[in-house]
Point group: C2
Chain length 236, copies 2
């Protein structure tokens, strides 16, 4: 490849990576805002997320198209090709995180409608889970931006803690529902929201694993976290 073409290729790749970061930033905002909307019963904020989800989808389609064009025109070699393929996978997960944030926003709208003043303390649980998930997503995107394996491992490790937090919330909500069957419908709405947040954790873990996979050149997607950590850290 001549220096000129190589320069163009790098510029195109940088452009795509920047767009992924834009998409990641938008999705991150949606996750945070959806949690805030749920905590504060902020209907306007929730509605804006639902309205804006098309932007996330449009970014996915645009980036996808650019990746295919880059591969077709530039015919990148193994390493660069893997980067482009990894970007295609990352934006699929980002798009689905956007969908989950939209679900949380819709739950905020549903809960606001059905809401009295009782059970406020359950929202604090969701807030903690929401903050945790938003932080994990932020760290995963940061690891992507810097292609930082150790940051990616740290981000991926949070998923287990998030699952435990989610289980604790589930147990508490079930106890409440058993004490007061009238709270069942509302309790289920909170559970769906918690489950959406837990799923966002899964997608953030996927993104972290793509970073590790790309940098380390090993497929770490279907091994346990302990194995992943071992593989990623060996040969340092």
């Amino acid at each position: 490849m001549s220096a000129h073409i190589s320069q163009q290729f790098n510029a195109e790749l940088d452009n795509v990576r920047n767009q992924v970061m834009t998409m990641g930033g938008l999705v991150e905002t949606h996750v945070q805002d959806a949690c805030t909307a749920l905590e504060d019963g902020n209907v306007q904020l929730a509605e804006r997320i639902v309205e804006e989800d098309f932007k996330v989808n449009a970014l996915e389609v645009a980036i996808d198209e650019q990746c295919i064009n880059i591969i077709a025109r530039r015919q990148p070699t193994a390493g660069d090709l893997r980067l482009v393929m990894m970007i295609v996978k990352t934006i699929t997960d980002l798009e689905r995180i956007g969908d989950e944030a939209e679900k949380v926003a819709k739950m905020a709208l549903a809960l606001e409608k059905a809401e009295g003043e009782d059970n406020k303390q359950q929202y604090i649980e969701i807030r903690h889970l929401g903050d945790h998930v938003a932080k994990m997503l932020h760290d995963a995107l940061d690891a992507f931006a810097r292609m930082d394996v150790e940051a990616a491992i740290k981000a991926a490790a949070e998923d287990e803690k998030i699952d435990q937090e989610y289980d604790a919330i589930t147990r508490q909500l079930i106890t409440r529902m058993m004490e007061d069957p009238r709270s069942i419908q509302r309790g289920l709405n909170v559970l769906w929201a918690a489950r959406a947040l837990e799923r966002i954790g899964d997608h953030a873990k996927n993104i972290s694993e793509y970073v590790i996979y790309l940098v380390k050149g090993k497929d770490v997607r279907h091994v346990t976290f302990e194995q992943m950590k071992k593989e990623a850290l060996e040969s340092r």
Copy 2:
């Protein structure tokens, strides 16, 4: 491209497509068996699905690797490149369908432990939803195998009906839980299983949409079904 190389390329593509069908067949069996395990309380069947999920994961990794190799070595042109990219996306959805089937199998194990003889009629609901989802997945894979746009549209259209069925099951289960708070934990398990089936419908819809996208060359992933149907059927 010389005729010889082109022949090799086609043989490699056929090989990858056959492996996707193998993966699809395995995942389809897991979905059906997970539903049977749930209906009949068949612990052995449920355990086998949980044990076998690694096969689904291994197929995803192997097919993914082959796709990257094909792109790197054969540098396919636009149409063939899109086919390879579409296969990479399809196997991601198949792998996640496998995960959801594993969840249903785990629910079957959990329900079997907690089970008495009551509430048997709820399983009939799950059975119907399970059969519906398995049929939709089968049709989506069939549309993939034949690259048949109209079959893909028909398969994708089932997702809305599956969502409605899922909503009906949710309402019935909530009514039961309100009548008998002791059934809450069990009711939630059934709900998680129903939700996993509903998600399998989402993934089957994704696969159908990739077929339409590939054949029609338009991005129909983020339009409504009505628009999709219109776009896919126009210019026939």
